[in-house]
Symmetry: C2
């Protein structure tokens, strides 16, 4: 807003006018939104925050009384800070870590495929279990990228999920087919990363 | 990976080889990362997940024993689900909501400027308070965009923050000057949004 030469009162008046217009546009937009129901949300991209935002969604869901299930596809071995927080709500949050750590640490494709298949079966059961309002499939995209489980099967299952169930899928390189059927897709883009400045992974930030 | 005509064993062997190379590259990269210390992290962009990822970071930090302070610059009136979860950790998490809701709901610039200045002063005090390991400045970017508080002052303060303090800034349209001094900047890009498909804001997802 160009405010040069304007008095404080003029600035305030112009601001009120501009905001009133914005509010009217927003109210009109919101009035068209009437659908409710389970969403399929995808967090992808190379930036930070994909899993972290899913964990934030988990906290929000728990705070509103939902019951959730988190299936971790590849970070099984990690003890993360948020796990400790979520463990305070055992009645509302079930966490299942099926993976064995990032694949470049195991280097055993056969074992990874077995773990991925088990994790997927567990996820399918959770999505069919009506006690859950939200299921988070953490790092499922990684598993799909390496073809550890059949993409067609995953897409079919997600397409036919219960209409009241929220599903969150995380991981870089989300498949086109998944983006196609999702309700919301957010790409976390890395503009700058502290690793580039020589910082190492620190407790409370990365894990 | 092209696997046509390959046996399962060949696929597994090639995978192990590829992963070993990746791991070597990764280990080499990690060995150069030795710095520790407080980071300035920015979540910006038009997509979902900026505040949610900050809340996830808060949960992670709490889980590792940190003490954090969250200053909400513009969503003061909102009762969010994650607030209820964070309230379980009163010893480790202080939340201060100073704003009066999104500016298009108040349309009173003078009141917004006053609230923003108070919030910023509170934030400065929190950043100087050595009991905190992390301070989250939620939606500070919005306040900066509307020139409610002087950018120079904010940049100077953040540049000279305690070296062991983590600071997280959220909000779309992050200023260039802020991106410049940040350690990590993630842009949440909206590829698809369920509002476009007629879904309304739902409890547990948007608030």
């Amino acid at each position: 807003m160009k405010t040069e030469g304007m008095t404080e009162q003029e600035i305030n008046e112009r601001h009120a006018e501009k905001m009133a217009k914005k509010k009217a546009a927003r109210d009109k937009m919101i009035a068209t939104k009437t659908k409710e129901g389970g969403l399929l949300m995808v967090h992808t991209g190379k930036g930070k925050g994909k899993t972290t935002a899913a964990m934030g969604l988990a906290a929000r869901a728990i705070g509103t009384g939902m019951k959730i299930c988190i299936v971790q596809f590849v970070k099984g071995a990690w003890e993360t800070g948020e796990r400790k927080v979520l463990e305070h709500f055992p009645e509302q949050c079930v966490m299942k870590a099926m993976g064995e750590g990032f694949t470049w640490d195991t280097q055993d494709r056969e074992r990874d495929v077995t773990a991925a298949k088990q994790a997927w079966q567990y996820a399918v059961d959770a999505m069919n279990d009506e006690q859950y309002d939200m299921v988070i499939l953490d790092e499922l995209n990684i598993v799909l990228r390496y073809d550890y489980i059949p993409l067609d099967n995953v897409i079919e299952t997600l397409k036919n999920k219960r209409s009241d169930l929220h599903v969150v899928v995380t991981g870089r390189n989300a498949k086109e087919e998944l983006i196609e059927i999702a309700d919301t897709v957010t790409e976390m883009t890395q503009i700058k990363h502290h690793f580039r400045n020589g910082f190492k992974a620190q407790e409370g930030i990365e894990f």
